[in-house]
Amino acid sequence: MFNLEPSITEWRRQMLAAGIQTPVPLEELESHLREEIERQTKSGLSAQQAFGIAAEQIGQAPELKREFKKIGAPMEMQKIIKLAGVICAGFALFCPLFMFLPFLLAHELNLMTKMLGLAVYATIIATIVLSWEYNQKLLPAIHNQLLRRAVGIVCYAGCLLWIRFVLFHLPAGVLHTRNIFLVLFIFGLECTAIAILGGIGHGLEKAAREKSAPMDLSASQS
């Protein structure tokens, strides 16, 4: 004799085994399944027939899993990726400030020199902000989630290594020239590169969302 609840439990087990996660989206799919079973039984079908039709209409777990994978990282992971990018951009924005500020406040420098320094810093800020806002237009849409995250992690690792081994170790030749503009320019350039590199992870997520692979609503039902 057919028993509905054990059948639904078994359906859940198959969904979980195929990689459909709980609570999102499995709870929502189960809610839909139950509503369809209720509708079918109200129209005169037996519980067994209703369950069969409803499960078929929900679709096969592997195909659902494939479509959910196209969406991209879960919201929580996307927030973490964005936060990592914000930290890199924030570091890149504030780090040169500590170099530029004494430069701008130095009494021996004339106004024109200071304005030039300010213009360089403003250019750095503008480049960092624009790259954060629009980098997804230049980045490819990597739909493979694992590959996309791997590229993002490599970029973050590159940022950290750059900060550790390159940023605060300007070439001896540059320091020898005692040309403050050259020092500020190279330092500013490196900070901009760090911000751009650090924003790649977030940019790849945005690119994958915006240029996402088409969803397949008509996947075979059996």
């Binding site: 709870e27 809610s31 679709g59 659902l64 991209g72 996307q78 609503l217 996947a219």
Partner: protein, 113 residues
């Protein structure tokens, strides 16, 4: 049978337009699409949810968990401001395609007549 590319392309504007009428949930959205299209827009029910989740990720819609009349948990979706903008853009684009097709069809009928 409607080509699956057209079914996929029309999903977002249809969902946005339905949600513009008010908050709804997945099952009701599917039933309304089927009813309005006389069953010709035959979505696999479960496939609606990746579409809804992607639209939520993109900030077009938002969701909240609620309860049905019988106490069953239900996820309700509603339109966000970016969703209204996206819907207006979809309407503009679909109207353009429709008007070009309608114009060409009219010309063909005129030539036949």
């Amino acid at each position: 049978m409607i080509r699956k590319e057209l079914v996929a392309a029309s999903a977002e504007p249809l969902i946005l337009s339905l949600l513009a009428k008010g908050e709804s949930y997945g099952y009701a959205i599917i039933q309304e699409i089927k009813a309005r299209s006389d069953g010709k827009l035959n979505w696999t029910d479960g496939m609606l949810y990746p579409v809804l989740h992607r639209m939520e990720h993109r900030g077009l819609i938002k969701s909240r968990w609620g309860e049905s009349e019988t106490g069953r948990k239900r996820k309700y979706y509603s339109l966000k401001k970016d969703g209204k903008t996206a819907m207006a853009r979809h309407h503009e684009q679909w109207s353009l395609v429709h008007s070009v097709l309608a114009g060409l069809k009219k010309e063909q009928m005129f030539r036949k007549g």
